[in-house]
Structures are given as C-alpha cells and as structure tokens.
C-alpha cells in the first residue's frame, strides 16, 4: 500500500461553511492543548463509570493525540477543571458532547485541515483529507443524511488513534482490508446499498482479496507496498475507480503492462480494462496458461477461429519455447555448479534470459505476436549460448574426471613400485647385516 503522509480526518464538503465558521473558535482551544499534568476532571469521573465512556478513557491512553498533549476537551469541549458534571459539560464552555457523524468529521478537520496548526506537529502531513472525504461515496452519503457511512473514527477509531506507521494502527497496510471489511463484509450493515447499475453491493470483497496475489504479497512476503483496498479505491476519497480508470489504477504499479494494454486493440473493446482478464479483488498470479486457445486459456472466452486466436496461439508457443529453454539451461547450470564447475558468468547470462522471458510476457499485453516473437528470439539466443557453454563445461568436467582416474592409476603404480623397492632394499640390507645376534 502506498501510504500517504497523512490519512485522515475527513471533512464534509457541504459542511465547509460550518467548518469555517467554527474553525476560529475551535482552533483557539486546539492550539493550546491542555497540560497533561493538570488534573483531568473528565477522566476522574469517566474512569469510574462503565460502558463507552470508560472505554474511551482506557483507549485514549495509547492515542497519539494524548502523547502530543491533547486531552478530552480539545475535541469535546467543556471544562476539565470543573468539579461537577454540570459545570464540566456546560455548552457555554464549548461542550459538544459525543461527536457522531458530521460533528466528528468537523472536529477532526478543525485541526487536520489547518496547515498552520498541523505544521507544529507534523509538517509533512497532508491537510486535504476532509476535502477528499467530501468527494468520497462516504462523504457524499453523509451529506445526504446517511449516518451509517464511515467517518474518520470508523477507520481510525475514536479514542485509540495510532500513527499510520504503527503496526497496531487500524489503518496500517496489513490492517486496512480488515478495517474496510468491518462494514463492507457485513451483509446486514451493507443491506440496501447498491452499485451504479442498481445491483446490490456485494460483501465478498475481503474474501476475494484474501485469495489474491496482492494479499499474499502483503501477508506472506511482508511486502507493505502490495496494494490493499485504499490503493485502488483511495482512502479518504474512497469510491470505485470507475470502468474508464481501471487501466490507470492497475498501471500505478504495473506501468509496462498498462502502457502496452492501452496501446493494444483490447483498449477499445475491454470495458473494464485489466479486470476483464485478471479480475479485481481476487487477482490471481499470472500464468502462461491464461494465454492461447488451450485449456485454461482466457483468450478462448472471446476468440474463436480468427486472427486473435492465431496471434494468441503463436505468442503462447513462442513463450513456451523460451520458458522450456530457460529451464533446460538452468538445470544444466545447476548440475555443473553442483559438480564444482565455475559458472558464475553463465548464471549471470541466465538471468538475462529470464529477463527476456519476463519481457515477452509483458509484451503479450500489446497483442503484437511479432514483438513477442522478437523478444523471445533474443532470449533464445542467450540460452543457445548458455547451452554451448554448458556443453563445453560438461566436456571439461568429463576430462577432469578422466584425468583424475588416469593420475590415480599412475600414482597407484608409483606407490606399488615404491613399496616393492622398499621391500627389495630391506631384504638386501637384511642379507648384508646377517642374521640378528642371538
């Protein structure tokens, strides 16, 4: 997931005016966070209570805002120094109560949309989260009166907010999918929501995503740059990318494939771009099997007895030949390496051949069979050289073994001759010395 320097705090476009009006007053208290050492009347009372208020006190202990010196009144208003609840929750002292829906977004945006204020805490953090949120499906529905939609606290939590780079954060790359799924995989919660075409919004995205190559990269290879929900949908401005944007979305990472795809004949006929072949949430590892007109191939879905089918068959055959050749060369080099032959230069060349295989697979997206064949040809020229070098090394290995056998025989003969000579010398010496004295 490509994390933004900030993620959060959402705002409502329609509430912009309200934010501006409220901003001056809110910043007045936000710029002077209450000293953490001062007694906090809110905590004194709420930590003895039960339910959500007590939970808020507990959760806030690990909140990044607490670490930066903010307290309850910085968001909720009121008077933390007051000794009774009525005085503490006096609206005249700015008490706002529980911040739900638009009020919550407004409270967050008060600080997080203020460049001057944020500069003091996190100078590089973005301040457009609220503006982005207003463009999202969530923000627009909230503006329309839908209170079930996600607001800032839905993703970041209300009182246990952690930095995005904190692995325990609900919006840390590995946690994003589960966070989104807390609503989007809940059929009850999502009941009534529909796609643009009127069909019910599915709740299977998380289950599908968990089968994908992206999820595997993130969770098994610990590759935090692997995409999760917000990388394709946006985070604060979350919404479906739209049919016309699929190639651009995938092309954010898969640049070469997207460029070739956009220049191909498929660009004009594929309504959903890359998704047509690779799907969206359940993207599977690509395989050569997908290409061609055989079993498991995707081309056969649309193509029959036409030029497209011929091109697919031709590209598949070319790629298969290079793949087989690379595997054959690899096996040969591994065997030679295991036999102790120095094949460092050949292993380097093998990497070049593998690169050509990758390039030929990328070239498939251009649907240009000639281009694929050209790249494959370059790769095959490399593997041909490798096979020749491998054959020479194999002959050299045979020569070494034969040479060793010959030298072993020669050494053995010398040893036998030496032992015979020693015996002869000892016998002669014994004869010269005569029998040992009694």
């Amino acid at each position: 997931m490509r994390t933004t320097t900030s993620r959060p705090m959402l705002a409502l476009g329609p509430l912009a005016l309200l934010l501006c009006l409220a901003g001056g007053e809110a910043r007045a208290w936000a710029q002077t966070p209450a000293a953490t050492s001062a007694p906090n009347g809110c905590v004194t009372c709420h930590e003895k209570s039960s339910g959500a208020a007590a939970h808020a006190v507990t959760a806030f202990a690990t909140d990044i805002h607490k670490a930066r010196g903010f307290t309850c009144v910085d968001c909720h208003g009121g008077d933390a120094a007051a000794t009774d609840a009525k005085a503490a929750k006096d609206p005249a002292k700015g008490y706002k109560g529980v911040l739900r829906g638009a009020a919550g977004v407004q409270a967050c945006a008060t600080c997080h949309s203020d460049a001057n204020f944020m500069r003091k805490f996190s100078p590089s953090q973005r301040i457009d989260q609220a503006a982005e949120y207003a463009t999202s499906v969530h923000g627009q529905r909230l503006a329309g009166g839908d209170t079930k939609v996600a607001t800032c606290a839905s993703c970041h939590t209300a009182h246990g907010i952690r930095a995005v780079r904190d692995a325990k954060s609900s919006v840390y790359p590995t946690n994003v999918a589960a966070t989104c799924a807390s609503c989007h995989a809940d059929a009850t919660h999502m009941a009534g929501y529909t796609k643009a075409d009127g069909t019910p919004l599915p709740t299977t995205q998380l289950a599908e995503y968990r089968t994908s190559v992206h999820f595997a990269a993130m969770t098994k290879k610990n590759d935090l740059s692997a995409p999760t929900c917000n990388d394709c949908h946006g985070n604060h401005g979350a919404r479906p990318p739209g049919a016309e944007a699929f190639v651009n979305v995938c092309g954010t990472c898969h640049t070469t494939f997207a460029t070739k795809m956009q220049a191909s004949a498929h660009a004009a006929v594929f309504d959903r771009g890359c998704v047509e072949c690779h799907s969206n949430h359940a993207v599977q590892p690509p395989s050569d099997t997908l290409l061609g007109m055989g079993e498991g191939a995707l081309c056969v879905t649309c193509h029959g007895d036409d030029n497209g089918a011929a091109a697919a068959t031709s590209m598949r055959a070319a790629i298969d030949s290079l793949r087989d050749s690379v595997e054959q060369s690899s096996t040969l080099l591994e065997r030679l390496h295991a036999s102790g032959m120095e094949v460092g230069a050949q292993q380097l060349a093998l990497r070049e051949a593998r690169s050509h295989l990758t390039l030929s697979r990328a070239e498939v997206h251009s649907l240009n069979a000639e281009a694929v064949t050209r790249v494959v040809g370059e790769g095959l020229a490399v593997t041909k050289g490798l096979d020749e070098a491998g054959a020479a090394a194999t002959a050299e290995l045979r020569f070494r073994r034969q040479g060793l056998a010959a030298s072993m025989v020669a050494i053995l003969l010398v040893v036998v001759a030496l032992l015979a000579k020693i015996k002869q010398i000892e016998r002669r010496q014994a004869e010269q010395d005569g029998p040992p004295a009694p």
Partner: protein
Amino acid sequence: MEDPTVATTTSSWRARTATWIEERYELGALTRFIDEKRVPVHRHSLWYYLGGMTLFLFIVQVVSGIMLILYYRPSAAEAYESVQYIVTRVEFGWLVRNVHSWSANLLVAVAMLHMASVIYLRAYRKPRELTWVSGAFLLFLMLGFGFSGYLLPWNELAFFATKVGTGIPGALPIIGHDIVRLLRGGDEVTGATLSRFFGLHVAILPAITTVLVGLHLLFVQQQGMSVPPSVEANVKKGERLRETRFFPNFVLHDAVGWYLALALLAALAAFSPWELGKKADPFASVPAGIRPEWYFLAAFQALKFLPSHVLGIEGENVGVIGFGALAAVFVVLPFLDRGASYGRPGRWVSWLATILFAFLAVMTVLGYILA
C-alpha cells in the same frame, strides 16, 4: 645383455662428476651423515611421518602459490575476476587453485596432528625444546597464511569473515584499535586490506617461514627423532632400540605417504572444487552463515559464547587475552613440563591437551551447527 663398454662409460662419467663436485664443495661429510643417519623403529613410528607430510603439503603450497601469482591481481577491482579467470580460462588453472585451497586446509590439519603427536609422545622434551618452539611458531604462521589467503579471492564470504576476524583484536584495551587499523590498512576492510594481506601472504610470511622451516629441519636432522619415554622405558639394559636407515628406507616410506596425499589432493580438487562464491560487495548486507575457516571456528564460537562481562572485564577482552595466554603456554610447553626431560612425563600435559582438543572440537562442531 648389457653392453660392458656402455656401463663402464656411464660409471666413469658418474665418478668424474662426483669427483668434480667433491673437489669443489667437499660434500663427503654430508653424504656420510645421510648414509649413517638412522630412525628408531617402534610402535609409535607412524607419527614420525606427519612432519614430512606437513613439509610436503607446504611445498605443494609454495609451488601452486607461485603458479597462481602469475595470473592473480591483488586489487579489489580485479582480484575476484582474476581468480574467476584462473579457474575458467587458464589451462589447468582450476586444478592449481583447488589444489592450493585444499592443500592449505590439509596442511593446517596435518600440522595440528603433528603437534598433537609431539605433545602426547613428549617429543618436545630436552634437548628438543627449540624444535618445538620453532614448530609452534610455524603452526601460527600456517594459520596466518590461511587467514591472509582466505581474503584474496575477494568473495563475499571471505570479505565479511575477514571483517569479523580483523575486528576481534579491537576488543583489546589501548592497542586494540591500532591493531585493527594495522591489519586492515584503515578502519574498514577495503582494497588496502587486500593489498597488505597479499603482501603478507606472498612475501612476509613466506620469508619468515623459510627461515623457521630451515631451522626446524636443521634441529630435526641434528638431533634425530625423539623416542617416546614409554618406549625408552621398555628397552632393556644393554639392548638397542631397532632402527632403520633414514636414506633410503625412511625417505621412501615418506614418499609413499606423499604420493597418497597427492592422490587425495587431486581427488578433492576434481570432485569437490573450492567454490568461488559471489564477489565481495562492501555495501551489501552481511549474508547469513558468516564464519571463518574451520581452524578459527572454535575460537570464534568460544568468543560468541562468552558473556558480555566476566568479573567486570569485557567478555571479548577476556576471550582475546585468554587465547593469547593459551598460545603463550603452548609455545613454552617444554619448559613447563620439566619432568618429561628426566623420564617422568607429567600426565597433566596429556589430560590438559585432551581437554583442550575436545573443547576445540566441540566448539568447531557448534560453530557449524549454530552458524
């Protein structure tokens, strides 16, 4: 049937040559010495051949090393490529390089066995104390050859192992840092380290070794082979221990051993060539399983096991100083075991040696297992 005219011509030619040499160099005393030299024969005689085997492997090192120098280039930019060139392009270069690498390891192993046999047979006792001392220093020199030669191919494993190895003296107080800089030619292992290791490997160490080997052989030839105290004690009064001629009997037996060692070297070179690995990259992260050559592994592992502090002294300091003290005791061993010179060898030497060898063996095995 042999032509008597040819035989007479040959023999007169030999006689004339011998006379020519004798008139100028008077080698008669030397030939008489060789002719009269005898070697004791007893149940431990086999150990006598380890010294000769060590010498043979050293000669193999010198010859193969000289051949490698013809192509090797001692710079960080070219060292790895030159070794790669030797093993792939130079005719029989692979054989020379593999024989050199394997022979180096066999040499250290045989030298260690030789020293162990000398300890257990108390061959270091009077009058052979200096033979032992020269041998002990020769063993250290062999380890120095191994340490300096290990870096020369400039591959990844050697680079990081040398980094660790040269960093160990840094634990010493006051002089530690200077020793590290002296070894590395700077604060880090660089091309400068390679240059000085090459100089050490092909010039400084060989020069010292040549002198010490000469002295060692001179002592051995002058004093003859030591007879173990246990054998001496069993020789009855008036009887003489059985002996064999040094030349040709002992020398021919030696030659048999040398040929067998040569066969072993050739087999190892052909069937288990020394891997070159990847070229050293000082900016790469340290690969897993970095460890020194097997003969340093015990010390390396023991240092790793030491706690951070021992009696308030830094653990690594204790280890380095401890191994230094052990080496010093090893050198002066003949002077500590005085009883051996009078036929009363102290059993403590055998016990201590056994414990030490067992410790080194266990640490070496652990070094391989835990790496």
